[in-house]
Chain length 209, copies 2
Protein backbone atom coordinates (compact mmCIF):
# COMPACT_ATOMS: atom_id res chain seq x y z
CA UNK A 1 0.00 0.00 0.00
CA UNK A 2 1.49 3.34 -1.08
CA UNK A 3 0.45 6.14 1.24
CA UNK A 4 0.03 9.42 -0.66
CA UNK A 5 -0.38 13.02 0.48
CA UNK A 6 -1.66 15.64 -1.99
CA UNK A 7 -0.60 19.29 -1.68
CA UNK A 8 -2.16 21.79 -4.07
CA UNK A 9 -3.73 25.21 -3.58
CA UNK A 10 -6.79 24.31 -5.66
CA UNK A 11 -9.26 22.32 -3.60
CA UNK A 12 -11.05 21.22 -6.75
CA UNK A 13 -7.87 19.67 -8.11
CA UNK A 14 -7.30 17.83 -4.83
CA UNK A 15 -10.88 16.52 -4.76
CA UNK A 16 -10.63 15.29 -8.33
CA UNK A 17 -7.26 13.66 -7.91
CA UNK A 18 -8.34 12.04 -4.68
CA UNK A 19 -11.39 10.56 -6.34
CA UNK A 20 -9.20 9.30 -9.18
CA UNK A 21 -6.51 7.74 -6.99
CA UNK A 22 -8.92 6.15 -4.55
CA UNK A 23 -10.07 3.90 -7.38
CA UNK A 24 -6.56 2.52 -7.77
CA UNK A 25 -5.55 -0.52 -5.84
CA UNK A 26 -2.41 -0.26 -3.79
CA UNK A 27 -2.80 3.47 -3.20
CA UNK A 28 -4.12 5.17 -0.12
CA UNK A 29 -4.69 8.93 0.17
CA UNK A 30 -3.70 9.93 3.68
CA UNK A 31 -4.85 13.53 3.32
CA UNK A 32 -4.36 16.84 1.57
CA UNK A 33 -2.86 20.28 2.13
CA UNK A 34 -3.34 23.67 0.51
CA UNK A 35 0.13 25.08 1.06
CA UNK A 36 3.67 24.13 2.03
CA UNK A 37 3.28 24.76 5.74
CA UNK A 38 0.17 22.61 5.91
CA UNK A 39 1.93 19.93 3.89
CA UNK A 40 4.71 19.70 6.48
CA UNK A 41 2.17 19.38 9.28
CA UNK A 42 0.40 16.59 7.39
CA UNK A 43 3.65 14.74 6.79
CA UNK A 44 4.43 14.87 10.50
CA UNK A 45 0.98 13.50 11.36
CA UNK A 46 0.44 11.02 8.57
CA UNK A 47 3.91 9.82 7.55
CA UNK A 48 3.06 9.25 3.89
CA UNK A 49 5.34 7.47 1.42
CA UNK A 50 4.89 9.97 -1.38
CA UNK A 51 3.94 13.66 -1.44
CA UNK A 52 2.35 15.00 -4.62
CA UNK A 53 3.48 18.60 -4.43
CA UNK A 54 2.28 21.51 -6.55
CA UNK A 55 4.98 24.17 -6.85
CA UNK A 56 2.59 27.01 -7.45
CA UNK A 57 1.32 27.48 -3.93
CA UNK A 58 0.97 30.56 -1.74
CA UNK A 59 2.84 31.10 1.54
CA UNK A 60 5.61 28.64 0.88
CA UNK A 61 6.84 27.73 -2.56
CA UNK A 62 7.72 24.32 -3.89
CA UNK A 63 11.49 24.62 -3.67
CA UNK A 64 11.49 25.62 -0.01
CA UNK A 65 8.92 23.00 0.84
CA UNK A 66 10.86 20.29 -0.98
CA UNK A 67 14.06 21.28 0.80
CA UNK A 68 12.36 21.15 4.19
CA UNK A 69 10.72 17.80 3.49
CA UNK A 70 14.01 16.28 2.34
CA UNK A 71 15.73 17.58 5.44
CA UNK A 72 13.17 16.61 8.06
CA UNK A 73 11.74 13.47 6.46
CA UNK A 74 14.35 11.88 4.18
CA UNK A 75 12.21 8.77 3.71
CA UNK A 76 9.35 10.73 2.13
CA UNK A 77 9.50 10.92 -1.68
CA UNK A 78 8.57 14.24 -3.27
CA UNK A 79 6.79 14.09 -6.63
CA UNK A 80 6.41 17.56 -8.11
CA UNK A 81 3.18 18.16 -9.96
CA UNK A 82 2.89 21.33 -11.96
CA UNK A 83 1.74 23.17 -15.05
CA UNK A 84 5.04 24.83 -15.73
CA UNK A 85 8.26 23.56 -17.16
CA UNK A 86 10.37 26.53 -16.17
CA UNK A 87 14.03 25.70 -16.37
CA UNK A 88 14.95 27.45 -13.13
CA UNK A 89 12.35 25.56 -11.17
CA UNK A 90 13.23 22.19 -12.58
CA UNK A 91 16.93 22.68 -11.91
CA UNK A 92 16.29 24.01 -8.43
CA UNK A 93 13.94 21.21 -7.50
CA UNK A 94 15.97 18.31 -8.76
CA UNK A 95 18.99 19.69 -6.95
CA UNK A 96 16.91 20.00 -3.79
CA UNK A 97 16.05 16.34 -3.99
CA UNK A 98 12.67 15.92 -5.66
CA UNK A 99 12.22 12.30 -6.75
CA UNK A 100 10.11 13.22 -9.75
CA UNK A 101 8.67 16.08 -11.74
CA UNK A 102 5.51 15.67 -13.82
CA UNK A 103 3.29 18.12 -15.65
CA UNK A 104 -0.42 18.48 -15.01
CA UNK A 105 -1.20 17.68 -18.60
CA UNK A 106 0.21 14.18 -18.28
CA UNK A 107 -2.15 11.25 -18.50
CA UNK A 108 -3.65 9.21 -15.70
CA UNK A 109 -1.50 6.20 -16.49
CA UNK A 110 1.68 8.26 -16.45
CA UNK A 111 0.74 9.68 -13.08
CA UNK A 112 0.26 6.17 -11.72
CA UNK A 113 3.58 5.08 -13.13
CA UNK A 114 5.27 8.10 -11.55
CA UNK A 115 3.80 7.44 -8.12
CA UNK A 116 4.78 3.76 -8.21
CA UNK A 117 8.27 4.55 -9.47
CA UNK A 118 9.14 7.12 -6.83
CA UNK A 119 7.53 5.02 -4.07
CA UNK A 120 9.86 2.20 -5.10
CA UNK A 121 12.82 4.53 -4.69
CA UNK A 122 13.26 5.53 -8.33
CA UNK A 123 13.03 8.87 -10.11
CA UNK A 124 10.43 9.90 -12.67
CA UNK A 125 10.37 12.87 -15.05
CA UNK A 126 7.79 13.74 -17.68
CA UNK A 127 9.23 13.54 -21.17
CA UNK A 128 9.08 17.31 -21.64
CA UNK A 129 10.75 17.88 -18.30
CA UNK A 130 13.52 15.43 -19.10
CA UNK A 131 14.16 17.35 -22.33
CA UNK A 132 14.45 20.61 -20.43
CA UNK A 133 16.87 18.98 -18.01
CA UNK A 134 19.10 17.65 -20.73
CA UNK A 135 19.69 21.03 -22.37
CA UNK A 136 20.69 22.85 -19.23
CA UNK A 137 24.14 24.36 -19.15
CA UNK A 138 24.83 26.28 -15.98
CA UNK A 139 27.25 29.04 -16.94
CA UNK A 140 27.88 30.61 -13.59
CA UNK A 141 28.80 28.51 -10.57
CA UNK A 142 27.47 30.83 -7.91
CA UNK A 143 24.40 32.19 -9.58
CA UNK A 144 22.95 29.23 -11.45
CA UNK A 145 20.76 28.29 -8.51
CA UNK A 146 17.10 29.07 -8.93
CA UNK A 147 16.50 30.01 -5.32
CA UNK A 148 16.05 33.74 -5.17
CA UNK A 149 16.89 35.65 -2.02
CA UNK A 150 14.30 37.60 -0.01
CA UNK A 151 15.62 40.88 -1.32
CA UNK A 152 15.53 39.65 -4.91
CA UNK A 153 11.90 38.59 -4.57
CA UNK A 154 11.09 41.95 -3.01
CA UNK A 155 12.66 43.72 -5.97
CA UNK A 156 10.81 41.54 -8.49
CA UNK A 157 7.56 42.54 -6.82
CA UNK A 158 8.43 46.21 -7.14
CA UNK A 159 9.31 45.73 -10.81
CA UNK A 160 5.95 43.99 -11.32
CA UNK A 161 4.24 47.07 -9.85
CA UNK A 162 5.78 49.05 -12.69
CA UNK A 163 8.54 50.80 -10.74
CA UNK A 164 11.85 51.56 -12.46
CA UNK A 165 15.27 50.81 -10.99
CA UNK A 166 15.55 54.43 -9.87
CA UNK A 167 12.14 54.42 -8.18
CA UNK A 168 12.85 51.15 -6.38
CA UNK A 169 16.17 52.52 -5.12
CA UNK A 170 14.38 55.58 -3.72
CA UNK A 171 11.64 53.50 -2.16
CA UNK A 172 14.03 51.09 -0.42
CA UNK A 173 16.54 53.82 0.48
CA UNK A 174 19.44 52.05 -1.19
CA UNK A 175 21.67 52.82 -4.14
CA UNK A 176 20.54 52.68 -7.74
CA UNK A 177 23.56 50.48 -8.42
CA UNK A 178 22.51 47.98 -5.80
CA UNK A 179 19.16 47.52 -7.49
CA UNK A 180 20.98 47.15 -10.80
CA UNK A 181 23.12 44.41 -9.29
CA UNK A 182 20.09 42.62 -7.86
CA UNK A 183 18.36 42.77 -11.25
CA UNK A 184 21.40 41.30 -12.93
CA UNK A 185 21.60 38.52 -10.35
CA UNK A 186 17.92 37.75 -10.82
CA UNK A 187 18.34 37.43 -14.59
CA UNK A 188 21.39 35.30 -14.10
CA UNK A 189 19.84 32.97 -11.52
CA UNK A 190 16.73 32.42 -13.61
CA UNK A 191 18.74 32.21 -16.83
CA UNK A 192 16.58 34.89 -18.46
CA UNK A 193 17.50 37.96 -20.47
CA UNK A 194 14.95 40.65 -19.74
CA UNK A 195 12.26 42.03 -17.46
CA UNK A 196 9.34 40.66 -19.46
CA UNK A 197 10.54 37.09 -18.88
CA UNK A 198 11.15 37.74 -15.19
CA UNK A 199 7.63 39.07 -14.66
CA UNK A 200 6.08 36.17 -16.55
CA UNK A 201 8.11 33.72 -14.51
CA UNK A 202 7.23 35.48 -11.25
CA UNK A 203 3.56 35.61 -12.08
CA UNK A 204 3.34 32.00 -13.17
CA UNK A 205 5.36 30.63 -10.29
CA UNK A 206 3.26 32.39 -7.68
CA UNK A 207 6.05 34.69 -6.58
CA UNK A 208 3.75 37.70 -6.62
CA UNK A 209 0.85 36.44 -4.51
Amino acid sequence: MIRVLIADDHQMFIDGLKSLLERESGIEITGSANNGTQALECIEAQKPDVVLLDINMPEMNGINTTALIRKKYPAVKVLILTMYKTKGFINGLTRTGAAGYILKNTSHSELMEAIRTVAAGGTFFSKEVAETLSDKKPRFEVHSDASLSKREIEIIREIAKGLTTKQIAEKLFISYYTIETHRKNILSKLQLTNTAEVILYASQSGLLD
Copy 2:
Protein backbone atom coordinates in the same frame (compact mmCIF):
# COMPACT_ATOMS: atom_id res chain seq x y z
CA MET B 1 -29.75 14.09 -15.89
CA ILE B 2 -27.42 17.05 -16.40
CA ARG B 3 -25.06 16.44 -19.32
CA VAL B 4 -21.65 18.03 -18.67
CA LEU B 5 -18.65 18.68 -20.93
CA ILE B 6 -15.26 19.47 -19.37
CA ALA B 7 -12.76 21.67 -21.19
CA ASP B 8 -9.34 22.14 -19.61
CA ASP B 9 -5.80 21.97 -20.94
CA HIS B 10 -4.60 19.75 -18.10
CA GLN B 11 -5.53 16.15 -18.69
CA MET B 12 -4.91 15.32 -15.07
CA PHE B 13 -7.44 17.89 -13.96
CA ILE B 14 -10.02 16.51 -16.41
CA ASP B 15 -9.42 12.94 -15.24
CA GLY B 16 -9.81 13.93 -11.61
CA LEU B 17 -12.91 16.01 -12.12
CA LYS B 18 -14.47 13.31 -14.25
CA SER B 19 -13.90 10.72 -11.55
CA LEU B 20 -15.38 13.07 -9.00
CA LEU B 21 -18.49 14.00 -10.97
CA GLU B 22 -19.23 10.47 -12.12
CA ARG B 23 -19.96 9.59 -8.50
CA GLU B 24 -22.70 12.19 -8.38
CA SER B 25 -26.22 11.20 -9.23
CA GLY B 26 -27.96 13.28 -11.85
CA ILE B 27 -24.75 14.18 -13.64
CA GLU B 28 -23.37 12.64 -16.78
CA ILE B 29 -19.99 13.51 -18.28
CA THR B 30 -20.40 13.54 -22.05
CA GLY B 31 -16.74 14.08 -22.78
CA SER B 32 -13.74 16.39 -22.47
CA ALA B 33 -11.68 18.82 -24.54
CA ASN B 34 -8.19 20.27 -24.19
CA ASN B 35 -8.82 23.61 -25.91
CA GLY B 36 -11.54 25.92 -27.18
CA THR B 37 -11.67 24.54 -30.70
CA GLN B 38 -12.03 21.00 -29.44
CA ALA B 39 -14.71 22.14 -27.00
CA LEU B 40 -16.83 23.53 -29.85
CA GLU B 41 -16.52 20.26 -31.75
CA CYS B 42 -17.59 18.32 -28.67
CA ILE B 43 -20.60 20.58 -28.11
CA GLU B 44 -21.70 19.99 -31.69
CA ALA B 45 -21.40 16.24 -31.28
CA GLN B 46 -22.60 15.79 -27.71
CA LYS B 47 -25.06 18.63 -27.08
CA PRO B 48 -24.28 18.97 -23.36
CA ASP B 49 -26.34 21.09 -20.97
CA VAL B 50 -23.35 22.64 -19.21
CA VAL B 51 -19.76 23.29 -20.30
CA LEU B 52 -17.14 23.55 -17.58
CA LEU B 53 -14.67 25.85 -19.28
CA ASP B 54 -11.15 26.69 -18.18
CA ILE B 55 -10.13 30.13 -19.41
CA ASN B 56 -6.43 29.41 -19.42
CA MET B 57 -6.25 27.24 -22.51
CA PRO B 58 -3.98 27.34 -25.52
CA GLU B 59 -5.17 28.01 -29.08
CA MET B 60 -8.41 29.71 -28.17
CA ASN B 61 -8.95 31.63 -24.95
CA GLY B 62 -11.97 31.56 -22.69
CA ILE B 63 -13.60 34.82 -23.81
CA ASN B 64 -13.57 33.89 -27.48
CA THR B 65 -14.75 30.36 -26.78
CA THR B 66 -17.56 31.61 -24.52
CA ALA B 67 -18.67 34.12 -27.15
CA LEU B 68 -18.75 31.44 -29.84
CA ILE B 69 -20.63 28.97 -27.66
CA ARG B 70 -23.24 31.58 -26.75
CA LYS B 71 -23.66 32.51 -30.39
CA LYS B 72 -23.88 29.03 -31.88
CA TYR B 73 -25.47 27.12 -29.01
CA PRO B 74 -27.56 29.52 -26.87
CA ALA B 75 -29.05 26.64 -24.90
CA VAL B 76 -25.66 25.52 -23.59
CA LYS B 77 -24.70 27.05 -20.24
CA VAL B 78 -21.09 28.10 -19.80
CA LEU B 79 -19.59 27.69 -16.34
CA ILE B 80 -16.14 29.25 -16.17
CA LEU B 81 -13.64 27.36 -14.07
CA THR B 82 -10.38 29.10 -13.34
CA MET B 83 -7.56 30.03 -11.01
CA TYR B 84 -7.72 33.72 -11.79
CA LYS B 85 -9.95 36.36 -10.30
CA THR B 86 -8.78 39.24 -12.45
CA LYS B 87 -11.33 42.02 -12.71
CA GLY B 88 -11.04 42.69 -16.43
CA PHE B 89 -11.42 39.04 -17.22
CA ILE B 90 -14.43 38.45 -15.05
CA ASN B 91 -16.15 41.48 -16.54
CA GLY B 92 -15.32 40.39 -20.06
CA LEU B 93 -16.72 36.92 -19.50
CA THR B 94 -19.92 37.88 -17.74
CA ARG B 95 -20.56 40.40 -20.49
CA THR B 96 -20.04 37.66 -23.05
CA GLY B 97 -22.72 35.58 -21.41
CA ALA B 98 -21.07 33.08 -19.06
CA ALA B 99 -23.68 31.67 -16.67
CA GLY B 100 -21.22 31.27 -13.85
CA TYR B 101 -17.66 31.84 -12.77
CA ILE B 102 -16.01 29.71 -10.09
CA LEU B 103 -12.45 29.42 -8.87
CA LYS B 104 -10.48 26.20 -8.83
CA ASN B 105 -9.98 26.50 -5.10
CA THR B 106 -13.70 26.17 -4.43
CA SER B 107 -14.99 23.08 -2.68
CA HIS B 108 -16.64 20.04 -4.18
CA SER B 109 -20.04 20.99 -2.80
CA GLU B 110 -19.84 24.48 -4.23
CA LEU B 111 -18.96 23.04 -7.64
CA MET B 112 -22.00 20.79 -7.52
CA GLU B 113 -24.19 23.69 -6.50
CA ALA B 114 -22.81 25.77 -9.36
CA ILE B 115 -23.46 23.04 -11.95
CA ARG B 116 -27.01 22.48 -10.75
CA THR B 117 -27.75 26.21 -10.58
CA VAL B 118 -26.58 27.04 -14.10
CA ALA B 119 -28.22 23.91 -15.51
CA ALA B 120 -31.50 25.13 -14.01
CA GLY B 121 -31.04 28.43 -15.85
CA GLY B 122 -29.57 30.46 -13.00
CA THR B 123 -26.20 32.18 -12.53
CA PHE B 124 -23.50 31.25 -10.05
CA PHE B 125 -20.43 33.16 -8.92
CA SER B 126 -17.86 32.14 -6.33
CA LYS B 127 -17.89 34.41 -3.31
CA GLU B 128 -14.49 35.89 -4.16
CA VAL B 129 -15.57 36.48 -7.74
CA ALA B 130 -18.75 38.22 -6.61
CA GLU B 131 -16.62 40.45 -4.39
CA THR B 132 -14.37 41.32 -7.29
CA LEU B 133 -17.41 42.17 -9.40
CA SER B 134 -18.84 44.51 -6.79
CA ASP B 135 -15.46 46.11 -6.20
CA LYS B 136 -15.68 49.78 -7.16
CA LYS B 137 -11.97 50.16 -7.73
CA PRO B 138 -10.84 47.91 -10.55
CA ARG B 139 -7.16 47.01 -10.70
CA PHE B 140 -7.25 47.39 -14.44
CA GLU B 141 -9.53 49.88 -16.12
CA VAL B 142 -12.43 49.24 -18.45
CA HIS B 143 -9.95 49.68 -21.29
CA SER B 144 -9.21 46.01 -20.79
CA ASP B 145 -8.32 43.28 -23.21
CA ALA B 146 -11.55 43.61 -25.19
CA SER B 147 -10.08 46.71 -26.77
CA LEU B 148 -6.74 45.13 -27.63
CA SER B 149 -6.50 44.18 -31.29
CA LYS B 150 -5.41 40.76 -32.51
CA ARG B 151 -2.05 42.13 -33.58
CA GLU B 152 -1.52 43.79 -30.21
CA ILE B 153 -2.19 40.53 -28.37
CA GLU B 154 0.18 38.74 -30.72
CA ILE B 155 2.89 41.26 -29.91
CA ILE B 156 2.29 41.01 -26.16
CA ARG B 157 2.85 37.26 -26.46
CA GLU B 158 6.15 37.78 -28.24
CA ILE B 159 7.24 40.28 -25.59
CA ALA B 160 6.34 37.71 -22.92
CA LYS B 161 8.63 35.22 -24.66
CA GLY B 162 11.46 37.67 -24.05
CA LEU B 163 11.82 39.01 -27.57
CA THR B 164 12.87 42.63 -28.08
CA THR B 165 11.13 45.07 -30.41
CA LYS B 166 13.79 44.44 -33.04
CA GLN B 167 13.44 40.65 -32.78
CA ILE B 168 9.66 40.81 -33.02
CA ALA B 169 9.91 43.02 -36.11
CA GLU B 170 12.20 40.46 -37.75
CA LYS B 171 9.98 37.55 -36.78
CA LEU B 172 6.79 39.15 -38.10
CA PHE B 173 8.50 40.65 -41.18
CA ILE B 174 7.32 44.18 -40.40
CA SER B 175 9.08 47.40 -39.47
CA TYR B 176 10.69 48.05 -36.11
CA TYR B 177 8.70 51.27 -35.98
CA THR B 178 5.42 49.43 -36.38
CA ILE B 179 6.16 47.28 -33.36
CA GLU B 180 7.11 50.41 -31.44
CA THR B 181 3.75 51.95 -32.37
CA HIS B 182 1.89 48.82 -31.28
CA ARG B 183 3.73 48.80 -27.97
CA LYS B 184 2.82 52.43 -27.38
CA ASN B 185 -0.80 51.72 -28.21
CA ILE B 186 -0.84 48.73 -25.85
CA LEU B 187 0.52 50.84 -22.99
CA SER B 188 -1.97 53.56 -23.76
CA LYS B 189 -4.99 51.26 -24.02
CA LEU B 190 -4.18 49.48 -20.77
CA GLN B 191 -3.12 52.74 -19.12
CA LEU B 192 0.19 51.30 -18.06
CA THR B 193 3.69 52.68 -18.29
CA ASN B 194 6.05 49.81 -18.93
CA THR B 195 6.61 46.27 -20.12
CA ALA B 196 6.63 44.73 -16.65
CA GLU B 197 3.06 45.88 -16.02
CA VAL B 198 1.92 44.70 -19.43
CA ILE B 199 3.28 41.21 -18.86
CA LEU B 200 1.75 40.98 -15.39
CA TYR B 201 -1.60 42.08 -16.78
CA ALA B 202 -1.36 39.64 -19.69
CA SER B 203 -0.41 36.77 -17.44
CA GLN B 204 -3.09 37.42 -14.83
CA SER B 205 -5.84 37.97 -17.35
CA GLY B 206 -5.07 34.77 -19.21
CA LEU B 207 -4.01 36.57 -22.37
CA LEU B 208 -1.00 34.28 -22.72
CA ASP B 209 -0.77 30.51 -23.30
